[in-house]
Subunit: 204 residues, 3 copies
């Protein structure tokens, strides 16, 4: 059924729900790396959260198909839902890689990168909360960029360490896989900052 009088709030409420699920996923990854026990079980819980996120994403797309007038441009709703889904997918993939690659112990730099992603998810939750008001979220973009620079500095230390000659080659490959995905996830958080900034610009 096509809704002629859509409740605009629905989309913003669904985005809040989706951002909260992304945040929950990031927190679970944080718990996993800080308390590195029962990791199969912890990866499984994150997988369930990721499935819940998928359902929210599908709900947003379905509602988009049923709704005649939308509070934001249709492709922006589609784009933001897709990018939030990407972050949750990435976080779940990282958790599963600790199991699949038989990582014995997360490094301090790895814990620091997960923490940065967790704080970026915090910022995303706050930005999605304020999306309805279409405020130019200057502090949000600055904070996400700051976190991205922090992640970049850690990634450089990590790279120098991995290539200093003191590691087994297969371990270098293992860690490049984990670190590469952590950096990509930090980038995806920055993409969300950019898409939200672009939505606000378009509608202001």
């Amino acid at each position: 059924m096509i809704r002629l009088f859509p409740r605009e709030d629905d989309f913003f409420a669904l985005f809040k729900k989706q951002a909260a699920t992304v945040h929950q996923g990031c927190e679970l990854l944080g718990v996993m790396v800080r308390d590195y026990t029962d990791i199969e079980q912890k990866a499984k819980v994150l997988r369930d959260v990721e499935h819940q996120g998928d359902q929210i994403t599908h709900e947003i797309i379905e509602r988009l198909n049923r709704t005649f007038i939308t509070p934001l441009e249709r492709e922006d709703i589609h784009g933001l839902a897709g990018r939030l889904d990407d972050v949750l997918d990435s976080v779940e993939a990282i958790a599963s890689r600790f199991v699949l690659l038989r990582i014995a112990q997360p490094t301090p730099q790895c814990i620091a990168l997960v923490d940065i992603i967790d704080r970026a998810a915090d910022e995303i939750v706050k930005a999605v909360d304020r999306l309805k008001e279409l405020k130019t979220l200057v502090t949000f973009t600055i904070e996400i960029n700051r976190l991205e620079n922090e992640a970049d500095a850690i990634s450089r230390d990590v790279l120098a360490d991995l290539f200093n000659g003191g590691h087994e080659v297969m371990d270098v490959l293992r860690w490049k896989e984990i670190y590469g995905r952590l950096e990509k996830t930090a980038d995806q958080c920055e993409d969300i900052a950019n898409i939200i900034e672009s939505i606000v610009l378009k509608n202001s």
Copy 2:
């Protein structure tokens, strides 16, 4: 010459032609991995198909420049043509990597991933066929997502296998190169599903 009365059908006909070429490229990669003989020759044929695809892409962009009123937004025509071209480029790059990396024999998981990309190309052909009617292709997106999940499960098995300690490091690098590109190509098929879904949403 600027056309004042464009034949709208032209763009849809060109997209069909381009999708068919993408599909042909995927099928040729399938033939290569299932019957792993004369691979230099098979990679060369795929390279020719990729060049044909390039020409169709250029034809779409040129026609876009000559046409005054377009049946879809100009940047969507540009975007879809570009993303279809990306898939064909990726498929050709994979075929050439089998030759360049001196891969002795494709693995069953590699054949399964090529098969998934082939089925995704099938779905893309069908979606492009129906693009003119601007129907919300719910089954299309569901099917592409299902294929993407299947590809993801295989990729996880592959990763666990590559890091189980039973492979030469250089072989691990070889296969990570091939598998990484196969996964990226599956993702690019999903991008096309998203762009088509977004075009339909924008115009519905």
Copy 3:
């Protein structure tokens, strides 16, 4: 303060400044690989240029927030500024990798890829110069595609060489890191060609 009567020229002038900074970064990387001495110092200079680029990017975004009527769509200004920033980030990251990975000497292929990126930056400067006239820059896209094909051919040679069995595994990893980033940067230059082509199409 919101400007009611914006000077349209400002955005084009800022884009020219940003493109010039990107070009400067590419040139500095060229100097570094051709005269491979004092590389820490050269990487540091490039880092400073990258910070200058960041400031121009922020200036564009801030001006976007303060300006009521813009000469191009807001999200296109945002998108082009972001993509130009990406190229400069990548070029700086490559320079720092030579230091971090303790690369003894750049290869001829590496120098050739840097040269291609440098020529792509040349083309980008020219295209940004003409952006105000919104001309369909056919030669620009053709030249960028030609450069991308050249980069692709070199990357294939490099891959065959890296996997021919004559290199230490850790050196293969080092060079894959450097070459991967060079190829990604060439792709990002192509992305800019696409975004400029798309802006011109949208406004013509």
